[in-house]
Symmetry: D2
Subunit: 329 residues, 4 copies
């Protein structure tokens, strides 16, 4: 990487939700997130190991949307250098000075190369790490935020920008039958991904993922969610991805935002790690154990907002013809 | 119970398979069963905790069928009393004297009230219990045979016979929307079941189930089966049944026989245990976490044989109209 | 078995504790038992799968003792037959008529052959089974009562009485180096045991065991207990017993009563199951993974009471010289 | 960090062992490492997810020692810059040119500030990643090398050198009752550590740790090791560390080298992560669940070699008086 800034990791997402109480039960009792703070307009949540104020903000709104997905950078100077890059590329930027957002330092918001609203910041208030407060563990015991997955019309364009301009590295990717890049999993922290891009109607955020410490937490998450009445919110899984090797569960929150519970990937620290290639139609790619994802998993995702106007961003269809894998059995 | 014999538990099944080598890999490497003995015509398998010669016989045959499902009884006298009962009911019986079957004592075979080929015996050769030979554990680590599930045209008739005449007790059952008995889970050993009957085209054996010691063995079973190339043999799950509370996986063996891996039910020893009633259309009944079973799970099952002629038994459709649950969402 | 009554299973224990509030936190938040009812003098607790009112009674008292350990029998007539047996043997008996104990029917209390206070009853009030209320699971998720373990001066005498007169069956046993019976695990329900007897100062109750659904519940139990401040209450484990194959944890409650969390034994339904013999000094017997039990585990146990006077029963040392295993390394 | 090189992670250890066959069984069948290659003089092993040739070398020798512990760096230039640093500090360095060691590129060996033999390299041959070859998983399923732990006489000196000169960051540390640094856990990859230093007789290597994907792999590891006859090689655990939150097991290999199986720490990517301080005598520090480590765990460790002469390095006692925690109960 030859970039002059250091993006450290996936840091937080801001979800617009229509009913804070309904969302609180789902995220706190179901997923096990810790509520750091809340008021009438927002709930701030963090995972069990997180030493920072939050990794998820639920904001009261009339319509479900994702306001922004955010990355932590190493220093304030990194923010200035990122702003310069986005401006040079002719992409929208907007500064949110320290104090304008609760518990977060100065933040740079941009509309990225795919039109996704993305945020960078270096500072966040700290909070007590609850990792050893096992007496407070609930539901799926979500431990930390892991990654975002976005649907975009042009995966190759997004990939090039994140790899070449932002300094991400690729761990695994998927080609369609014409050899075109259908999806890519890319990272800054040495895991399989901080963000993935999939071909499809976008820009939209497909899901936000939380990392779990072990597979049994995911099984227990299913049991607790079902006991709380959320069986219909379990969209796909539990199963294992071929791509990434993760043991996974996909949930839809009360507003339809998709959350992945995720465990079981591997260390990608080495600069000579060779990205793993998958064929889109390799059945084991999406589910190592064979089960197919439902159509809604390929078609539905959260709409996103313009960083300046707050209006919903218009979507375009995926450029590649194939919207989902085809399995000839 | 006022019967004059003592059926102890589900003991073994004899499956006709078309390729012993293919079946061996699936059952030994995939499910983790121990091969006690084999020759050109049959393989004898047992679970990791089983102190008896086998709980599964794979017999080489031209056509996949289930020859018989067997129960262990307390004593030789119990066999005579069972024979008297079946004869009195006008049902076919057949004795297989000691020595005529490998590793098993004198056996009584019958065609039960639904036409299913069923066997009873009191004696089987013993074998080394491998429970603490953890160095030999493989795949799903199948620990012991647990139960059979049969599709029959008239569940009420089968239920009445097994409860009143054979001394089984009911743990859970399913009624259709007219209040008719659609399925029943009944037991002799104090678990949820030794056998279940479901409304459907029959008599057929829907599945044979093995008990696992814990949920992680099932997850590992999925991983090993997929790595061995059996992803397409995973038909349903992993998930949790509402009915029985079991964490389950349904597999199809290389000949299409269905095997359930099963863990997580409860003790049913008490005579005052009140059977649990479920509505057929209660979505949590079949899968506590919400996912629906595929149609093949409701439609396909193993055909069975006449104890005298060895011919395949003719099937009839289920008497109740509803072939599977309907979920109005 | 040629006895004329049917003891079904281990049913409950009544512990005298000195501080109900302290005990409640340990058993409810730490072990995960459900509180069915309580008042100023007692707390009634049940496991997650139990459909009966309770399996543990904590009674406020000045001194920690175990009042009685109880077994469920099939019918009221079984109680009369048991009373006749104990009277014929010249052992103390006492009837507690229905209504004299909360939530329990008519009960027979006896001082057994070793002087232990033991109770039999056929009826208990029912309670909602919480097995699928995963949202209420806490701590170690204790699922059901499994067995008692008693220290007695003369194991052979206790063994003979329980096997020959009460109809128990032996699953595993331990001989000392002279070939004398040092300990025995015996059962009525088809698990490794409903009760065990060990050579030692007695009669005392060594521990009451609860069954867990899987090993991860035990690991989680350790974490939650430690987070609640009970690290010093963890006496031994987690580890696996060679004898019984159980994955276990031994805890001391706030009054020093020992509780075992237990998972991983096997089905012992078969009348031809051959008991497993272990040498006392076989290191793998007590801990399959090698770690030795601390001396307190061999020396300390709960004192018991006279069923008539309520006085503490006088103890005698174990008849066999060897108080604990000796490992020559 | 202001260093001009980039150490990426813990990469490999070279152990001198006296019997290759005995070691092979322990590491391959017991720990589950994959054997990449071997000959009469050495065995090369890798974890299940490792895409490189090896992370452990077992070299046939007359005496058990640890030849070197190695770190991977980003580039060849990093090696030159590291050599300059060590030379400037007056510490011994030695180059091993590409081709002189099997499967590894040019390597820099040094005697570090504590006298430990340490190696750096940028290149290693690749090997097939076995992460999804679940059919080949064995024993404890060791997934990747995680960290080294060293005993040194002067922890503060080692700490200062690794933090200030080598660019490591501290996640957790232990002070003795005088407020002196007794131990420190420091990292380059964003986990709790790549290396730890503990006060004690040294320089010696206390243990090499492998990361497991989940706690059940560790339980299964215990079972398989015990079934293979290695119960006496289990030195400590399973239990959870307070420090690092890891679920752990300490083993001694056939030559006495200590191996840790390790799972359950957390992400330490953030530059503003505040190191966690523990008192040496806080009982929960070493074992969150309360059990104390045996004396041998504090006293015994592997001796190390001079990078030039191959002679065993002379040890000195730890500078701090307290050799192990004291728990006043």
């Amino acid at each position: 990487m030859s970039v002059n800034f250091d993006i450290i990791r996936t840091a937080r997402a801001i979800l617009h939700v229509t009913d804070l109480e309904k969302s609180r039960e789902f995220y706190v009792k179901g997923l096990g997130l810790i509520e750091t703070e809340s008021d009438d307009s927002a709930i701030y949540l963090r995972g069990l190991e997180e030493h920072v104020h939050h990794s998820l903000v639920l904001k009261k709104a009339d319509t479900p949307n994702i306001e922004v997905t955010s990355y932590k950078v190493r220093s304030e100077e990194d923010l200035d250098r990122l702003a310069a890059l986005f401006e040079q590329k002719g992409l929208k930027t907007k500064w949110l000075e320290e104090g304008s957002q609760h518990a977060v330092g100065r933040a740079l918001r941009v509309q990225d190369i795919s039109g996704l609203p993305v945020e960078f910041f270096a500072k966040m208030d700290t909070a007590e790490r609850m990792l050893q407060r096992y007496d407070l563990y609930q539901g799926a015991k979500a431990q930390r935020i892991d990654h975002f997955n976005n649907m975009v019309p042009d995966v190759q364009k997004a990939y090039d920008f994140y790899i070449n301009d932002l300094g991400f590295a690729c761990s695994e990717y998927t080609d369609d039958e014409d050899g075109k890049l259908w999806a890519a999993w890319i990272h800054r922290k040495p895991s399989v991904h901080d963000v993935a891009f999939m071909n499809g109607k976008g820009p939209r955020v497909h899901h936000v993922a939380y990392w779990l410490s072990d597979p049994m937490a995911l099984i227990q998450g299913c049991d607790v969610l079902a006991a709380l009445g959320y069986a219909d919110n379990i969209e796909r899984g539990p199963a294992r991805h071929g791509l990434s090797n993760a043991f996974f569960l996909y949930l839809r929150d009360p507003d339809g935002h998709r959350i992945e519970l995720y465990n079981g990937d591997y260390l990608t620290s080495d600069p000579d790690f060779k990205p793993v290639r998958w064929d889109l139609n390799d059945k084991r790619r999406q589910t190592f154990w064979g089960a197919e994802a439902p159509d809604c998993w390929f078609n539905e995702a959260s709409t996103v907002l313009d960083i300046e106007t707050g209006e919903q961003i218009t979507t375009e269809p995926g450029k590649l013809k194939q919207a989902k894998p085809v399995f000839v059995i």
